[in-house]
């Protein structure tokens, strides 16, 4: 082998990221859910229902994070759950999971751009200014963040870690200034009511409880760009979910103690409203900055994640192969980044916000359902000790079972409010699967289906 002349060097993604980048990628994509969106859970079932939804969502995502830490640190290639599905289940599942992931992140990025335009327009109106056409802000946001992603992963994710840390610090500051140990600002005794819509309200609010954590599994997309997958992926993912649980509890506690549930369930910016009620001007400024930074962090991470999935799928010819190029200087999947920009823009400009978010959450839930099944198959096909794992998650199979039960509850929760969307999404993915089976599969590189240097999986009977 050593005597063979090397004619062409393959350019790969750069391995420059550490655990903090993985943490930033996971938390950054999600933290915006604390600033806006989660509070619609309160409208569905009251503040106590929102707390239960927050904790049920927390359990679901704790299962996702711990399972993801094991599987991702074992595969350690970009594409995350798509690549895992390719190895564990097969091509049709891999195509579906890849599609779920791309839609989850594209829709989230579109929703973030819409939210940023809305927030800036709102503040400009309060200051008697005009920011112009909000759609222009949407376009500028997506293009500028895509450009940042294009220029290099280290700069992008270091920037993401910084702004995510500020957004998290703003939540901690609000919690501290609200003085949870005293009753000066908070009045839970006066504001907390029983469950106004009973236990059905709790189930209905579950859908919005997921907003506190939606996207934490995106941390796995950095797998091929981290220096040490065994360290960065479990460490970043597990600390990421702990950070989100802390932020979610602080957010709920402060907001539920400051606002009546009827108001909290209707406001578009619950944390900003809470800061206004506390009355500290520096805090209001900090929380406003936190809101803007959280949105930018989420959009940045979404573009990063969507492009990595697109890149991985194109590499195996599940998507057009020209998308899998790596930029020779910046070492980023630049064509995948550019290709997804017009798609994100189209959703941000033409689709209504609530539909965009519903499609994103539904696609996310489909990924989690797959993960619950996949970890059971993964442990059967390659039992612990047969391959090198970066992390072995505890209490198996309880997290997988809990994850599947909570996903079923999530689908029912969505069905209560968005049954048409649920049916449309299922039909869409079914049609996409048929298209893949009959039209696309012939282009797939079958030799690249199994790329890990592992023994043949137990129970595998293929050639």
């Amino acid at each position: 082998m050593a005597d063979e002349p090397v004619t062409k060097q393959k350019i790969s993604l750069l391995r420059v990221l550490g655990p903090r980048h993985v943490w930033g990628l996971g938390v950054g994509i999600v933290l915006v859910g604390d600033y806006m969106g989660w509070n619609y859970a309160v409208a569905k079932g009251g503040a106590l229902a929102a707390l239960i939804a927050c904790w049920l969502g927390g359990l679901l995502y704790s299962c996702v994070a711990t399972i993801d830490a094991e599987v991702t640190s074992s595969f350690a290639t970009t594409g995350g759950q798509y690549t895992q599905a390719k190895h564990i289940v097969g091509p049709a599942m891999a195509f579906n999971v890849g599609l779920y992931l791309i839609f989850t992140y594209i829709m989230l990025a579109a929703a973030n751009a819409i939210a940023l335009a809305h927030l800036l327009s709102l503040v400009a109106a309060m200051a008697d200014m005009n920011v112009g056409n909000p759609k222009l802000i949407v376009v500028l946001t997506i293009v500028s963040l895509a450009w940042l992603n294009y220029r290099g992963v280290y700069t992008t994710l270091t920037f993401n870690v910084l702004i995510t840390a500020v957004a998290f610090a703003a939540i901690v500051a609000l919690f501290a200034v609200a003085q949870p140990w005293s009753y000066e600002h908070l009045d839970h005794a006066g504001l907390l009511t029983d469950l106004p819509y009973g236990w059905l309200g709790v189930v209905a609010s579950m859908y919005f409880g997921l907003w506190f954590y939606l996207g934490i599994e995106g941390s796995s997309q950095a797998a091929e760009e981290v220096r040490s997958p065994s360290r960065a992926l479990p460490y970043g993912s597990l600390l990421g979910i702990v950070t989100l649980l802390v932020a979610a509890n602080m957010t709920w506690y402060v907001c539920a103690g400051l606002m009546p549930w009827e108001y909290l369930g209707a406001t578009t910016t619950p944390l900003f409203s809470a800061a206004q009620l506390v009355g500290s001007k520096p805090l209001i400024v900090l929380v406003f900055c936190g809101s803007v930074l959280a949105i930018i962090a989420s959009a940045t991470a979404c573009i990063n994640d969507a492009s990595r999935v697109g890149f991985a799928m194109a590499r195996d010819c599940y998507l057009p192969n020209w998308m899998c190029a790596v930029h020779p200087r910046h070492r980023t999947p630049h064509r995948a980044i550019v290709a997804l920009v017009p798609v994100t823009m189209a959703f941000a400009i033409f689709a209504p916000l609530d539909k965009v978010i519903t499609l994103s959450i539904l696609s996310g839930l489909l990924v989690y359902t797959y993960m619950g099944v996949a970890i059971i198959l993964f442990r059967r096909q390659w039992p612990v000790g047969t391959i090198r794992r970066g992390f072995v998650h505890p209490l198996h199979p309880l997290p997988a079972v809990a994850l599947l039960v909570l996903c079923a509850l999530g689908y029912f929760s969505i069905f209560l409010t968005y049954r048409i969307e649920l049916i449309l999404v299922v039909v869409f993915y079914f049609v996409a699967t048929l298209w893949f089976h009959f039209r696309r599969y012939r282009y797939v590189r079958r030799k690249l289906q199994f790329t890990m240097p592992w023994p043949r999986p137990i129970g595998f009977e293929g050639g």
């Binding site: 704790s62 469950l195 065994s230 505890p394």
Partner: protein
């Protein structure tokens, strides 16, 4: 590096327990009589979250302390720090 990782991970779990304990204790005291079902359910779900995350992080810390896996976990990190510092890397990767 390993020691700092362990300290941060253990600290974050401690904060998680304190915060969940605080929120649960405050809310249970207020609604125990009017909504006992909420208290029971949130107690079960909260405890499950704490147990799962604590077990996960404990397992991760234990792996960081294990001599057989330490070189694999920290080797690439040490190597890249040495390259950044202009020193030729002397860490043997397993």
């Amino acid at each position: 590096m390993a020691r700092r990782d362990k300290q941060i991970a253990a600290g974050s779990v401690a904060v998680l327990w304190l915060l969940f304990g605080f929120v649960f204790w405050q809310i249970a005291g207020l609604v125990m009589v009017t909504a006992p079902g909420v208290v029971v359910l949130s107690g079960i779900v909260g405890a499950s979250i704490l147990i799962l995350n604590t077990a996960s992080i404990y397992r991760m810390i234990r792996r960081c302390s294990c001599d057989t896996t330490k070189a694999r976990i920290y080797g690439p990190e040490v190597q890249s720090v040495q390259i950044e510092d202009g020193v030729s890397p002397n860490v043997e990767l397993p």
